[in-house]
């Protein structure tokens, strides 16, 4: 009787909240430690920087996805948009570095904008709208590459490739860019009115509107952002590869969604963090790396493992949000 009732349930709620937010980080740490003990080659700097650069593109895409999911939506188009961004960048690189950046961002941003307008103003279901633009962006990509037959190469002497291949302290530029974007996005989410609006809309759209949040405008902004980030990731990837590869990005949207959810963001919206998403992406990266280390396991095992992780996370999340709701 000395402790007031809500203090204890509050503590439990804090613990549950903490696990929900940082569970992915804990699992990530555990996997890294285990992998380093089992595989000698895992704990090398080269291997780590390899994981980092490979994950950096997914991080950028997943940041946008985090915003979209928190505000109660979904964006299935990011994989296609990523590929389209890459091809456009490679194509435009013949005119110089600046066009190679501006053209893909403009087109991909426009696709995101279109998604947003259809979803927010015409109140169409995000699932359907972004499924349509997944197909649409793919189609656009095929039409500018002669049905995927021609691959545009970035001119050898172009400084554009430097953006993707350059390194600092042994880490690729995209890694730094991804980290900077993640930090910025985390700040925007937690400490800006835009971020607060996103949480409010995902938590309860009607209540948010009644509290004066400009719901439609915020949603349009969110989907535009997601398109822009997917396009940026595609652009960076093209710079790194030195070409616009048309078959990339298939299923990338599912990786992004998986990473976001593993990172503790609620699939129904209203709660989530960028740091969780970061852990989620890295966890997927580590799993893939470990499976590569094992070597004789097929890549299908990677899918199975990621799938298992996702299932466990969703179960734990559901359980946690139930304990939180009990009171």
């Amino acid at each position: 009787m000395t402790v007031p009732a809500d203090a204890v349930s509050g503590r439990r709620e804090l613990v549950a909240g903490f696990v929900q937010r940082h569970g992915a980080l804990a699992v990530l740490a555990l996997s890294v430690v285990t992998a380093s003990l089992v595989f000698e080659s895992f704990a090398s700097f080269d291997n780590a920087s390899g994981i980092a650069i490979q994950s950096s593109f997914l991080v950028i895409v997943a940041i946008g996805m985090t915003f979209v999911i928190i505000c109660g939506g979904i964006d299935l188009s990011v994989g296609s948009v990523f590929a389209l961004g890459g091809v456009l960048a490679a194509y435009a690189s013949r005119w110089g570095t600046l066009p190679a950046l501006v053209v893909p961002l403009a087109v991909c941003g426009a696709i995101g904008l279109l998604n947003g307008v259809l979803i927010a103003r015409l109140r169409l279901a995000p699932f359907i709208v972004t499924l349509a633009s997944l197909l649409g962006a793919r189609g656009l990509l095929l039409s500018i590459t002669d049905e995927g037959a021609s691959t545009y190469l970035v001119p050898r002497e172009s400084s554009f490739v430097e953006i993707g291949r350059g390194t600092l302290w042994g880490l690729g530029y995209p890694v730094f860019l991804a980290l900077a974007l993640a930090a910025l996005a985390g700040l925007v989410l937690q400490r800006s009115r835009f971020g607060q609006s996103i949480f409010a809309i995902g938590g309860s759209q009607d209540a948010a509107a009644m509290m004066g949040v400009p719901v439609a405008r915020m949603k349009v902004l969110t989907y535009t952002l997601s398109g822009l980030l997917a396009g940026l990731a595609g652009t960076l990837n093209a710079a790194r590869l030195g070409s616009g590869v048309t078959i990339l990005g298939v299923g990338l949207e599912l990786d992004a969604i998986a990473a976001v959810v593993i990172g503790g963001t609620l699939l129904i919206g209203g709660a989530g963090t960028i740091s969780g998403t970061l852990s989620g992406v890295l966890l997927l990266g580590v799993i893939q790396n470990v499976i590569n280390q094992i070597g004789n396991l097929g890549s299908s095992y990677q899918l199975v493992t990621s799938g298992a992780f996702l299932a466990v996370v969703v179960v734990v999340q559901t359980y946690l949000s139930r304990t939180q709701r009990l009171h």
Binding site: M1, S9, G10, Q190, F199, A200, M211, G212, V213, P214
Partner: protein, 501 residues
């Protein structure tokens, strides 16, 4: 007085598919006036408020605010113009922290970023003035309904408004919180802020309001100073008929004698860490037992624990002399218990289903024969309860989310009543229900008890508790502190025991 009222509504009409929710409604609200808006469930009060604040658009009519005609498309525009609104259901974001809810849209900023420490500090200070002492970083949903309502009030007042609209702000408040709210309203009206106030608790209106407008079926049937009209006349204007009797509650005043035999419901040693402490009581057939206590006394938790909706550390429940093997909602329903939960939005009503589906939902398992559910049988049941409780809907097929707040409550009540339970637990059964229907619900509880049902009644309306219950079990901080039976049951005795027990 000012010649131009702050708000002036002329000839407003609003149609929904199948209903004319507002017809030719006119209303004037001078600065500094506290104006009551009353009417039966479904009369159009909330709709009028939503039209005024840009949630809905009027089909016809003009609204002038601050001397200029206005046509708000979004709640945000109304807010910017200085109209602050507390809508009927608490409309905040459950997952966001208390402080973030309080400040959403007007967060204090530093270098362009939200200043979290300052926001949390100011939120704590503000809420403390409203008697809410909580960790403002916790999610809003961890607060009780009353505290959430106080957060909504604090938020509405903090937006520097000229007009404050409140749609049933006191329906989930404790008496102490109601006093706080009244204090706020009086202070605002002294500062020349106008208030439009909706409530089904008529006593409150007489304490607070200057003028009253009565809506019936979407039309204004009366408007004038409140002091010039007595309560019974007001009620008859709202209902369009006389209520009959002496007004207040509709319970028969003579206490029922419990039927002989073993107790129908027995709860023993219910224990839940920090919430419930060794709670035991029993209810006989034909008896209404009230659970009394203040906010946080464990009333609702006790009821939830009994029907298995709140896991307990220890405790057992007997129904009709048989002990439940385990406490779960399924087992409770099977044993013949039904419970009307307190928070209808979170724990009961399914807004997207029809009135009909919502009513027969829980009764489904008992209605089927060889896996098939008779549509005719369903229709009969639905029909009976819609008439009996006077549920106002365009048809049984209407989406429950489109019903007025009070009518949603009635649908929920019907759901549990049509189960034909042996034990009925009612948590705030008349919240948000208009005077006419309230009398109806109370008469129904009475009748059910006479027919041999065991009823547990929870109500923060002391009058309702005292007049409805044959016996009152008093709880304080999760433990039983006393019991009153027979002639001992009256408001003073209850208050006394809660204060000293």
């Amino acid at each position: 007085m000012d010649s131009v009222p702050l708000l002036s509504v002329r000839g407003v009409c609003k149609r929904f598919p199948g209903v004319l929710a507002l017809q030719d409604v006119s209303l004037d609200l001078p600065a500094g006036q506290v104006h009551a808006l009353v009417g039966e469930n479904g009369a159009g009060k909330s709709t009028l408020i939503k039209v005024l604040t840009g949630v809905h658009r009027a089909d016809e009519g003009e609204i002038a605010y601050d001397g200029r005609p206005v046509d708000f498309h979004q709640p945000k525009q109304a807010q910017q113009a200085g109209i602050s609104t507390i809508y009927q259901e608490v409309n905040l974001i459950p997952l966001m922290s208390v402080a973030r809810n309080l400040f959403l849209g007007r967060e204090p900023r530093r270098f362009g970023l939200i200043d979290l420490p300052r926001m949390n500090r100011e939120a704590s200070e503000t809420l403390a003035r409203y008697g809410v002492h909580v960790d403002v970083r916790k999610p809003l949903r961890s607060l009780g309904l009353g505290a959430q309502q106080m957060v909504a009030l604090a938020r509405a007042v903090a937006i520097d408004a000229k007009l404050l609209i409140m749609d049933e702000p006191t329906s989930s408040l404790e008496p102490r919180e109601v006093e706080t709210l009244f204090g706020v309203v009086r202070e605002l009206s002294q500062r020349h802020i106008s208030i439009l106030y909706v409530s089904h608790r008529l006593d409150e209106l007489y304490r607070l309001c200057d003028e009253v407008t009565v809506l019936r079926d979407g039309r204004v049937v009366h408007t004038g100073p409140l002091a010039a009209i007595d309560k019974l006349t007001l009620i008859s204007k709202m209902l369009g008929r006389d209520l009959g009797g002496d007004g207040v509650t509709k319970f028969t005043h003579d206490r029922r004698a419990a039927l002989p035999g073993p107790p129908q419901l027995r709860a023993e040693g219910m224990d839940k860490r920090n919430l419930l402490h060794d709670i035991s009581f029993e209810v006989r057939r034909g008896e209404v037992v009230g659970l009394g206590g203040l906010l946080g006394s464990g009333r609702s938790e006790t009821a939830k624990a009994i029907v298995g909706a709140l896991p307990v550390d220890r405790g057992s429940v007997w129904v009709g002399g048989r002990r439940l093997a385990r406490l779960s909602t399924a087992a409770a329903i099977k044993a013949g218990m039904a419970m009307l939960p307190e928070d209808r939005k979170a724990e009961g009503i399914i807004a997207d289903l029809s009135v009909r589906e919502n009513i027969v939902l829980a009764a489904m398992p008992s209605l089927h024969r060889a896996g098939l559910v008779s549509r005719r049988r369903q229709d009969q049941i639905v029909d009976v309860f819609m008439k009996r409780l006077r549920i106002k809907a365009s048809s049984p097929q209407q989406r429950v989310g489109e019903l007025s707040g009070g009518n949603q409550q009635k649908v929920l009540l019907a759901r549990w009543l049509c189960l034909n339970p042996r034990v009925l637990l009612l948590d705030e059964p008349t919240r948000g229900i208009d005077v006419g229907a309230k009398a109806e619900v109370q008469a129904l509880i009475d009748e059910l008890a006479r027919a041999g049902l065991a009823v547990v009644l929870i109500s923060s309306d002391l009058e309702e508790l005292v007049e409805g219950a044959d016996r009152v079990v008093l709880l304080k901080a999760g433990a039983v502190v006393g019991e009153l039976a027979g002639d001992q049951v009256d408001e003073h005795a209850v208050m006394g025991m809660l204060a000293h027990g």
